[in-house]
Symmetry: C2
Subunit: 583 residues, 2 copies
């Protein structure tokens, strides 16, 4: 037996007890006649004391030579500390050590095992097993476990059944790129890793499982953007005999439960906003509504003068920055530079100061009157002391630009509070989106999404206007979940594949099993999937998912700790009937 | 809203209520003036009634045309049944239908959706979504969910943290064959799918996570034996600062909890048996101890006469078959044929009848006396009325043969009761096992298993005698879990790799990260992994895992429903820098 207690357990009431502890040496202080050691494990830190008078010479000598991260086992007596540490759970006591055993030594770690480490990202990832010893990372992983357990118990309680779907499935060119797995036993054939269990969960509904969920790894072989992982975890859910309303209510319930259980926060019923409305008011389909700064569309209030930049724009739109009039000219110029960066891509920015005395001062004074600017203030909701920022151009682009500016300013103004939660349903997504590259419409969600009732005909005439029974759950400006009511009718599904450019042969080859299934009594059904990595990060008050994943990959999809991917043996390639073609 | 209640919910106290139900048509009975429909969903069956007097003509007409597996929605009134069905939860009531909507039609299913279906295995797998509608399969999947939840809640309660380890890892030639995943972004490089999260869970222990578990998919590209799947699910566990005793106690606790929670069975403390003992007493390292028929070694009691078959054998060993003397000569001859089948491979079998009157009659009467045979009876524990079956030959082979015979006879005699549970720890496994093909020793468990203290030196002189801190949990003759105390010392791990034939370069290339980790304060640690698929099947009183997996693969590793694996596009191959070499 290596321990009687963990290092977070002992209190003053244990005084006098003989205990055995094990753990890592966090730090030592050696005063010659006395040595203190902070002993650490997952549960806490306990102070050990060795002294000339009460400890054996041997133990004293060994204690003097302990290095950081040595693994030791000690037996001793719980004594009351002379100088207590109220910041530590075990701060009232220390262990007077009688016996010390070194279980393992340690080289000096490449970075400090402290809450704030001196290790950079790369070093931390290479030695992730040491990084995990740091409290913030450890706590994040425990936090993730708590969230996952809360999800499972809640859904289980609501009669959902967790069902494992296969990982070795079939590649489909639709959507993102698949990771594939060559089959040794079937020459020239491949499995694919699932991008999501979409078709399987639909088949489970056809199979009468009624309420399904799964916390499941999914895979996408995409060029990685920051904070994306090639393998990620979904809370995947599906229900039969439901309308959109049933699904929103069920998963609003789950989200409320998590906020309460995990964060101790009670939130009101979630507001709902159409996709069109979200784009108009926030320039974004996942608006952060923890703060205002809503868009004010200024076409009418700006296009009656001689300012051609505005007059030629499809959209002129502004936001009021609270207290923004305090910015110096230089600060505003920097803001203009910020929106002109290639990542944002605006051509420029018009600003208008709303002075405390009620007057206005703008960068386009020579074109507009005070009355014009008072109107802008009214439309954008600006108050005296605010700054109105106005962008103009093509609607699609200018909304994205102003949305980026809104988020940036909110961050700078401290309006994105990590302990505040503002969930929101965005509904009525378009069924299709235009793809510039292929010059055709793609399914915005996926090809199984049901159009709104009666809109199937619109597909032929106004495809961009067709709305879907599709919805996203947005939390603090992040899409944490998305789903839809599915098509459950074989004819409609066939038409949809046809519309999306599948030949009947392709549709059959890739999704024949689903179309077949729909012939045998498919019930109405729909579902949702949450990104667990992001959900956990947001509930944890952070924005980066990487620190909530035990062994993440870097932006090149590499695991730098185990050094994967890596070449494999020629024998393995031969068995798989494969040859690598080097460029 | 598609329903107010599910089809298992309504009782007599709901009489008079107007309800809406949805589900599948299980069957219809049409008497012309009256139509009954059994409406089915996951929760049960509710009887619907349409009649000329009380239902609309339209509803009557539609009801008459409903086919099996049509999906319908009905609204009606709960009424008391005239002839109640006590075998159904809803058997006291029926629904007098006012409105009927057909939500989806159905072709006639290719097999009957009944508890006992007329569908063969192949057909059921191709239309698995229909198979899942059958109660036994549905119940198995729900049962699996319950077991998984019970495992998670129990371990979570005991401070274990479920941590997700990566699926895209690195291929290692040790052990079984890996499935690999070509990396598009790294020409000529591959990820591998994990055969188990072994090294990651050890790194989590180095990282101080202390108690880890994960219910996780694992992958092995092996030629499939019956009832094996290329992807399977493990309950994977690891603990730091533990001895073997701590692990056995912890997971005995889990197993007892499951037996109680899931099966309502309380079992005593699990017996423990050494590997050597299990082989000697049952010829098998996973003995089924629900029944006796222990091996009796008969070398001394048989090799003193002129019977050369026994005299030349390394081992002569027998079992007493309870009541076996009732077998006819013909039945015994069939048994002899059975052991001579190539799958068993015995050269023959000697039998000895123990007559009710206390006399013996054996197939080797001319060599042995009554006293000899009385001695055999004593050694094998035979009683009057039993049959003693004796095999002889090389120890290793003859034990396996007699073990197979023991299990076969127990099945025939009904001694393997599915509602009886006899767990057992088998401990002190050999560290190594001899591999005939490569003519060297392999790690029996895996190369991270710690030898028993002080046995490292034996490796050089008597490698086959080295015992490991390795253990299996056996339930009803199935290995449901196995684990070991790991090596946590870099030097010992290096020596082990060296012994197992790894060059230092190979060890570094494949496990360098683990060896590195061991330099930075690795704690003593150990763990266990349970096969969830098998555990669930056994707890469910069955032996076949396939019916506890939603979408299993067949013995060729194919998913016949989705038809995977399958060829992929040339574009995909090009992007992956791969060419298929057809033989």
């Amino acid at each position: 037996m290596y321990r009687t207690h963990n290092n977070g357990a002992l209190r003053l009431q244990n005084k006098g007890e003989t205990v055995t502890l094990s753990g890592w040496v966090q730090k030592t202080r050696n005063k010659g006649f006395m040595v203190w050691v902070d002993l650490r494990d997952r549960y806490g830190i306990t102070q050990l004391i060795f002294d000339e008078e009460r400890s054996s010479k041997e133990a004293m000598a060994m204690a003097s030579e302990l290095g950081r991260e040595f693994v030791i086992q000690v037996t001793g007596t719980v004594i009351e500390r002379e100088s207590k540490n109220p910041n530590m759970a075990t701060g009232d006591i220390e262990i007077l050590v009688a016996e010390l055993t070194v279980l393992n030594s340690s080289l000096t770690p490449p970075f400090t095992i402290e809450d704030d480490t001196d290790g950079g990202e790369d070093l931390r990832m290479k030695y992730r097993y040491l990084d995990i010893r740091r409290k913030p990372v450890r706590q994040n992983l425990i936090f993730r476990h708590k969230v996952a357990m809360a999800v499972r118990n809640y859904l289980s309680e609501k009669s959902f059944v967790e069902i494992e779907t296969p990982y070795l499935i079939k590649s489909t060119p639709e959507g993102a790129r698949d990771f594939v797995v060559p089959s040794r036993m079937n020459e020239g054939q491949f499995y694919a890793l699932p991008q999501s269990p979409q078709t399987f969960k639909q088949l489970l509904m056809v199979g009468g499982m009624d309420k399904y969920f799964q916390i499941v790894k999914c895979f996408r072989d995409e060029d990685l953007r920051a904070d994306r992982q090639p393998e990620f975890t979904q809370i995947d859910c599906e229900m039969a005999f439901v309308t959109q309303e049933d699904i929103l209510n069920t998963f609003e319930g789950l989200t409320k439960h998590l906020l309460k259980e995990i964060n101790g926060v009670e939130v009101n019923d979630f507001p709902r906003m159409t996709y069109d409305d979200a784009m108009k008011r926030y320039g974004n389909d996942k608006p952060d509504i923890r703060f205002g700064m809503e868009f004010g569309e200024l076409n009418e209030a700006t296009q009656h003068r001689e300012f051609n930049v505005f007059n030629q724009a499809e959209l002129v739109v502004g936001i009021a920055v609270p207290g923004g009039n305090q910015m110096t000219r230089k600060e505003i110029d920097q803001l203009i530079d910020w929106v002109k960066r290639p990542q944002i891509g605006a051509m420029g920015m018009v600003y208008c100061r709303y002075n405390e005395d009620g007057t206005f001062k703008s960068s386009v004074d020579k074109f507009y009157t005070e009355e014009d600017m008072a109107e802008w203030a009214k439309i954008t909701g600006a108050k005296a002391g605010d700054l109105i920022c106005i962008l103009s151009g093509a609607t699609h682009k200018v909304r994205a630009q102003l949305s980026a500016l809104r988020m940036e300013l909110a961050s700078r103004l401290g309006l994105r509070k990590s302990n505040e939660f503002a969930p929101l349903w965005v509904v009525d997504f378009p069924l299709l989106e235009w793809d510039e590259d292929t010059e055709r419409f793609h399914a915005m969600h996926h090809p199984f999404t049901s159009p709104k009732p009666g809109q199937m005909e619109l597909l032929k005439t106004n495809p961009a206007d067709v709305k879907a029974n599709a919805y996203d759950l947005v939390l603090n400006g992040n899409e944490i979940g998305g789903g839809s009511i599915r098509i459950h009718d074989k004819e409609i599904q066939s038409k949809m594949f046809d519309y999306l450019g599948f030949t009947p042969e392709e549709a059959k080859a890739q999704f024949g099993f689903l179309m077949d299934a729909f012939q045998y009594g498919a019930p109405p059904h729909g579902g949702i999937a949450f990104g667990l990595d992001r959900l956990v990060a947001i509930l944890g008050g952070q924005e980066t998912i990487r620190d909530f994943i035990a062994f993440p990959k870097n932006n090149s999809g590499r695991d730098v700790m185990i050094d994967a991917p890596a070449p494999i043996d020629q024998d393995q390639l031969n068995e798989l009937h494969l040859k690598v073609i080097y460029n």
